[in-house]
Structures are given as structure tokens and as C-alpha cells.
Symmetry: C2
Subunit: 499 residues, 2 copies
């Protein structure tokens, strides 16, 4: 019967297919109306859009497995989606495909405070984990900027980072075990509740695989004790060189801040225009925000050391904040930096690349040179401690050809990161956005090996096709295709996830 | 010509094959004489022995690739070996196979102190890395007990831990990148010098794969700043329950010691018999060794807190040591514990399992019950902080049937660990020793997925066959086969790696 369905007229076919999925998840678990499907046509990378044929909303591992097996049977491509806050188009739907949305899988299944574990469904919001355990003095460390909206499932797919990953590591360092449904509909239990299980580390393989191996349906997270004391230190410098030297000195002294962020003059002014907190001196060449946590006396000692190292490297002024409200005030500008960029120009393009920390100053100078050459202003806001850059290219999308030029400039920045010994993505993932840059970083045999591993989980290539790995299309062709589809991407839609 | 070689008489055949390998690595790079091959017939798990047909000693990635491609062409199984200190038979040769020994790949290729990286060949001894960078105030954290002998390549294969993995993590947390030769002879560059590269985490997949995916030929390690201050605290308790409660209290207070070890009364007395330092009270039910590191005032504060928590939980006496010599004195007994067990009885069998830390006391009681039931004494020495148990079963191998019974008892302990939510190996690996227990921990589909991943690297299954994954042979059959091959395994040969 199904083979027949596939050959019937498109609308009838999808009606019949929808009924099959409704049989699994209930009528209210399938979205088929065109206007409702519009909500799902893009994620945080709003410049790529594609309406899915069908959205399916499972509640359990078993329902996910049944959905995936049905996709396998009908040979339908499918894409998993959490909150859709990703910035690389990882949750971009596939034409004539199914979008599996985890919005109804929002249960925290268990917490074990003694062993510092929590088991959650993929649709659980990142921030909820901390909320569930903070009363007892615990928290979940990875904190992407979108943490009040984004889901743990999405964090697992993208191996999300955040401000605190300098000290605490990214998502993969906090996932101990996974129940996953592979693209063939098999249910696997990877890892467990104790770390470093024997056998291949398939948990680590799965985290960051961007939905190309399957879907995680239960995630065992490590939770940490809330530190006794936290201090945020803001230091302002007359130049990026001086701030970069301070970063080098702090790391060189063996201090591991919880986070260490840098903003350049353009970002500082953008932020002050919008937030107007008065905390950030408008004439500074760069500022550093350093968060230190630990025992009270350890934090106090480290604050002294960091302040001394900043002064040694030319800091003009240093502010410190211990209480939560004051800390938030110092962080506020940094957190608003991307949104503020939207006020500097009609549109902006955010890049995400990594360089070895020691190359910071020289790479920033090269970015400056690229900015001059292309004639677009670039604001720099980034995780200085781990060399994760987020250059914001300011432009006006209504100008013919501007987006294409800006994308080219963004690509030049990525290639610069690779040449400096770094990487084409720090925390936003590859998705549909950067797969054409994968060959700049990986040899054909490296990529072939990844694809061979993929085969083990997804022989038919139905799970999130066209993402992560380069497709035969060149970057140029992809850009043209995208341009033709580009609808009115609003900056607002993206802002929620930017940090 | 080669096909002909394979069908000629065995000795001639291996002579001709040896010449082929000599063509790659030079005449002095091939060992073929029976008496010289004897050295390589076992690793630290001396109860499994098998002489290889040939030992080959490459010097470079290219030579490794040429060796592996030759094995592929001749369809020869091959096994990689570092120092051979492993305790699970991971480097046990294969009959009619090649042993690829990394003893001539001992170069530290680069150190980059600013970015805290070192790039080494696989034959580099673990301890050399620290020696190379300690003058500048750095060290390499993973410290298996065999660190003055074992190689980084072996550490990568086994994902080795050590006393300090409680705070600093195991090998996989310190490997950023790998150049590997896959079983098909391809050279891959996995990861890099910046952490969390995009694409599948094949670096993480490779670490701990026990030589079944290929050989690492260049390893990029993360090196850490030497802590400002280190203190070792020894607390003695009248019971295991009390010591276990102290462990729970320390972890519960959010303190993360660099290491936290426990020894029971039998181990304490064994150690005092041999080392006689007088530091360990013979009438203690259990003792804890807690190492704390960090800033001077942070360590001082944490020593106070840990001492207080130990006293609250019934510690009778507490000793602390800050200077290196005194610290070594307190550690000495712990480090000699396994060797000392050899003085309590003619032979001993060391088990390696993991349990959730909160199950410590109840599992130790169950081990005690098993000891009574089987009539063998069991000494317990273990990494209490992360629940990694090392029960030492004392026996006399000259008694008919003793080894078989002890192996059965060891298996019961592993099953107990799995039932408690733990794992069949903490840090010694699966190898040839525990592969028959894999089905106790992984479902058939979990194992099938690992094997499918293996296919991507080693379609012919030539790299370290018979290890890690269960073979059609049942445990019982394997034990019989092993018994028939068992030669005079000396305790001394094993002691070097025990901790």
C-alpha cells in the first residue's frame, strides 16, 4: 500500500503519510497545515529556509523509534529539531521530508544529587536543568547564550559551548550517557552513569554529530556543585594588543577563569548605545570580562592576581563585582552585544571560528585588514580565553550583492582561522552553513572516514541529509540557490540565540 | 609472488615475509628469532601468552603505514604494542601475526608552552612528557602507576587513568589531536591543536579503542600548569563504612581532590609488612589518602575542610604532608600495595571495575560476602573518589583449579559492579581478558553498532583481532584454552604496572 502512496499525487500522498505518523503519535502530534508548517521553515540561521512536508511530535523513545522506522520504510529524509535556536542551519528542514520536533519531550526523568547526575528528555530547556537542582546547590555548566530557550537535545547535537566552557568544557564533557534512536530505528544505550565506560566512546561520537547519526531521546548529564563564590572583573585597555597581552599573562600564570571575554571598541560603543549602563568606557580600545569562581578565599586571591596582571599590561581601570546583581550588570553589555550590533547597521552576519589563543592579536589585525579591504565594519566580541572568535560583519541587506560579499568576507575569516591552526566552528556547528568549508579543514580521507562511520548508523543517509558534510554543490552554487529562496529574514528572529 | 609465499612452508613463508618488512624498516627493525620473540609473548596480563610470528619496529608514520598496508596485502593479523604494561592482554600477539612495536618511535616532536601542547610519538614514555616541560612549570596529568615505563601510545589505546584522574580526567581528556594509521593503511589527522573541532569526534572514538581501529603515530597532548601547592592528607578510620562516609562528605561538600584513595585493613597490613613506613596504622579498618592541589591558600583551606569532614566521620588520626619527600612517604604504601599483595600469598588476581561512588560501602560488603563464599581473601585498594575498585584476590596457583575458581570469583565481582550501575573496567581495558563480559554490559545492538564502526576503519578485521569484542567462544572455553597455554606466569612481571 505504501509503495502505492508514494506514487500517488503529492498532496494525497502526504495526507496518507501523515495518517501513518498520526497512528504513532496521535492526531495532535502531526502538523500538516501549510501555514502552521511555516513556523518550522528555518532555525536561528534565518537566511536558509525550507518548509518541511510534515512535522511530527513524539513523546517517548518508542514513538521516536516508530517515526524513524516509518521514515526508513518510506525512504523519507528527516531532520530532528529542538528549539530551533541553532545558528548553522542544523535544523533546516529537507524538502519532501519530515521534521521530528522534540517539543513534547520535556521531562526531567531523574536527578541523583549524590552522584551528581540528571537524566532528561531532549526537549528539556537547558536552563531548566539548573533550575531543577539549584535549590540543592547544584547547576548544569554548559551555558549557551540561548540557554533560556534552547534544548538539551539541540545542545547534544551541536556540542554547545558557552561563556563558562573555558573552565568547564563544552556539552560533550557533561554528557555521560545517551539513549539514542539511530537512523535505522534501533534503540542504543551509549555510555552510562559512570564515566569512561569501556568499548568505543560512541557517546562522544554522537555528541556534536549534528543529527546525522540519529536522535538522543534520553540524556544523562553531569551536574556540578555551585561554587562558593563568584566574582566578575572588568578591565579596560587602550588597545586590543594590551588586552590580548593580559589574556596571555592570566593563562600563563596558571589561572583558569570560569570565563574570559573580550570586546573591541566598536562593540563597546554599540553596547553603550543600547544598554547605556555606563560600565563600559567608550574610549577603551578593548575590554576584558573575567569571571572567577571557587572558594571564597581562592576567588579573592585570584581576583587580586588577575587585577595585577591586567594593570601590568596597561589596564586603565578595573571594576569587580561579587554580588549577583552587580555581576549581571557587568555582564549585561556583553550579553547584549550581538543585539546591539543590529542597531549599528540594518543587518549583521555573525561568524564563529577558533584560533590558538596565542594568535589572538595577529588574527584580529588580519580581520581588521579584511574589514578595510572589503569595506565592511566588523565588531569583535569573543571568548578570548579559548580563542573562539565571533566577528560581527555589519551590512545592509537591501543593497544588491551585499550579502554575497559579506558571506565571502566571512569565508575569508574562516580560512584565516584554519591557516592560524584553528577551526571553522567554535560552538555554532557546521550544519547547512559551513559544510562547504569542511574541505578547508579536513582531507578527503578524513571526511571519507567520517562518512564511513555515518554508514554504521544511517546506511540510507536519511538523517539530516545535506548537513555537516560537503555536498557536490560548491559554495558558490549553494549561495545562489539560497539567495533565490531568501525570504525576509528578520534580525529579531536570530537575536535570541546570539551571545 | 606473495600469494605464492603464503602457500609455501611456514618457516620459509615467514622468512620471505620478514624480508618484505625489512625492506620497509631495515634489517634491524625486524625480529624473527624464536628466542627474541619470547620477550613479546605477553603483556602485563601474563596469564595469556602467544608468541608472534614476527616483530616489526617502525620509526615513522610512513613506516607504520607501509607495515599496515603490507599486512593488509598479505592478510596478516597484527597487533600494536607500546611498553607492554597493560593489564588486560590488549597487546597479546596473535598466532601467525605481526607485532608492531613502537619502541623506536620515542621522539617528543614539539612542545608549545604558550598554548600548553606537546606533540609526541607513540613510543614516548608517559613520564618523559612531564620531564620535558616541568622545568617551565608544566606537567602531563594522566598518571597510570606504570608511568615510568608505559608509553603514550599505549595510554591512548587503553584510555589510561591514574590517581589524579579524579580531578583531571583520563587520557581522552588530554588528547587534542591524533595522526593515525588506520587498519587499511590510510593516514588520518583527527582533531587538532584546538579543542572541540567540528565533525565527528573521531579523536575521542580512537582513544580507548584498544588497537582495533589502527595505530596512533603522532599524539597532540594538553599539558597543564604545575599547581602552586600540593598536600597529601592521610586519615585512618575504624571501619570501611566510616571511611566511605567521609568520602561521601568530601564530595558532597563540593571539594574535588586531585586524588582520593582508600585501602582496607588487609592491604594496610600487607603494605606495612613490606614497606614498614609506620605511617599506616595496622589496626585501622580503612584509611584514606586525599591529595589536594591548587593555590597555597586554597589548598590550606581545603585541607582544613577535608580534615574536619574526616573527623566528623570518625577519623582517629590525621597526618598531612606538604613537602615532596613527606608526600612521597605517605603515598609509598599505596603505591606498593599491589606488590605487597604478592607477599601475602603466592599469587594474586587483580580485578578492575567501577561502581557509582555512592554504592561504595554496600558493594565492598558484597565483595566481602563473595570472599567468604569462595574462601579466598580479598584485599581492597582503590580510587574511592571515582568508584574505581581494584579488589586483589589472593590465591595459590599451584593448587589445582585455584585460578579457575579465582577467575570465576573475579567475574562475579564484575557482574556485581554492572548490577550496581557501574562498569566492567575502570582503567585497565577489556583486551583479551574481559571481552566475554561485554555482553553483561552492552546489548547485542550496542555491540553490533561498535562493530559496524570498526568496519569503517578495519573492514578485514586485521587490527588486534579477538580483543575488546566478545568472540564466539564462551568465557568457559576461553578459560580452558588459556589454561592449556598457561606457562609460568611470574608475579614479578606484572608488578611493575600495578597501582
Amino acid at each position: 500500500m505504501l509503495k502505492r502512496l508514494l506514487h500517488s499525487a503529492p498532496r494525497d500522498r502526504w495526507e496518507a503519510i501523515g495518517d501513518r505518523f498520526a497512528h504513532v503519535v496521535g492526531k495532535d502530534g502531526v502538523i500538516r497545515r501549510k501555514e502552521e508548517l511555516l513556523t518550522y521553515e528555518c532555525d536561528g540561521l534565518a537566511s536558509y529556509r525550507q518548509r518541511p512536508a510534515l512535522v511530527v511530535l513524539p513523546r517517548s523513545t518508542e514513538e521516536v523509534a516508530a517515526i524513524v522506522r516509518l521514515c526508513q520504510e518510506l525512504e523519507l529524509p528527516w531532520v530532528a529539531r529542538g528549539a530551533g535556536t541553532g545558528l548553522s542551519g542544523g535544523a533546516l528542514p529537507v524538502e519532501d521530508g519530515v521534521l521530528l520536533v522534540t517539543a513534547r519531550m520535556k521531562q526531567i526523568l531523574a536527578t541523583d544529587l549524590d552522584n551528581q547526575r540528571a537524566v532528561v528528555q531532549p526537549g528539556v530547556i537547558n536552563n531548566w536543568v539548573t533550575q531543577a537542582v539549584s535549590g540543592a546547590g547544584f547547576y548544569y555548566a554548559p551555558d549557551p547564550s540561548s540557554q533560556i530557550v534552547c534544548t538539551i537535545g539541540g545542545n547534544v547535537a551541536e556540542n554547545s559551548g558557552g561563556v563558562h566552557c573555558l573552565k568547564y568544557g563544552v556539552t560533550t564533557n557533561h554528557v555521560l550517557g545517551l539513549k539514542v534512536v539511530t537512523a535505522t530505528g534501533e534503540i542504543l544505550d551509549l555510555g552510562g552513569s559512570v564515566p569512561d565506560m569501556p568499548g568505543y566512546d560512541l557517546t562522544g561520537l554522537f555528541v556534536g554529530s549534528e543529527g546525522t547519526l540519529g536522535v538522543a531521546t534520553e540524556i544523562t548529564l553531569r551536574i556540578l556543585k555551585t561554587p562558593e563564590s563568584i566574582c566578575v572583573l572588568l578591565a579596560d585597555f587602550t588597545s586590543i594588543e594590551a588586552a590580548g597581552a593580559a589574556v596571555a599573562a592570566i593563562v600563563g600564570a596558571g589561572i583558569v577563569p570560569a570565563g574570559m571575554e573580550m570586546m573591541d571598541n566598536l562593540s563597546i560603543n554599540a553596547v553603550e548605545d543600547v544598554v547605556g549602563s555606563g560600565c563600559y568606557p567608550r574610549d577603551a580600545g578593548a575590554l576584558l570580562l573575567v569571571e572567577l569562581d571557587g572558594l571564597e578565599l581562592e576567588v579573592a586571591a585570584n581576583v587580586e592576581r588577575v587585577a595585577g596582571l591586567c594593570r601590568d599590561n596597561g589596564a586603565r581601570g578595573i571594576q569587580t563585582a561579587y554580588d549577583a546583581e552587580m555581576r549581571q550588570k557587568l555582564w549585561k553589555g556583553r550579553k547584549a552585544a550581538f543585539a546591539a550590533a543590529g542597531h549599528l547597521s540594518p543587518d549583521y552576519f555573525v561568524q564563529d571560528g577558533v584560533i590558538p589563543r596565542t594568535q589572538l592579536v595577529s588574527v584580529l589585525r588580519e580581520i581588521e585588514a579584511l574589514s578595510d579591504r572589503y569595506g565592511y565594519r566588523i565588531a569583535n566580541v569573543f571568548h578570548a580565553g579559548d580563542g573562539n572568535l565571533h566577528p560581527l560583519i555589519l551590512y545592509d541587506n537591501s543593497v544588491e550583492g551585499a550579502l554575497e560579499t559579506v558571506e565571502e568576507l566571512g569565508g575569508e575569516i574562516l580560512k584565516l582561522c584554519v591557516r592560524a591552526g584553528g577551526s571553522i566552528s567554535g560552538e555554532h556547528g557546521i550544519g547547512a552553513d559551513k559544510n562547504c568549508f569542511m574541505p578547508d579543514m579536513f582531507s578527503p580521507i578524513d571526511i571519507a572516514t567520517m562518512l564511513a562511520v555515518r554508514q554504521a548508523f544511517d546506511p540510507k543517509g536519511l538523517a539530516n541529509p545535506g548537513k555537516l558534510f560537503p555536498t557536490p554543490r560548491t559554495c558558490g552554487e549553494a549561495a545562489i540557490a539560497r539567495k533565490n529562496k531568501l525570504s525576509e529574514a528578520s534580525v529579531a528572529a536570530v537575536e535570541v540565540d546570539l551571545f
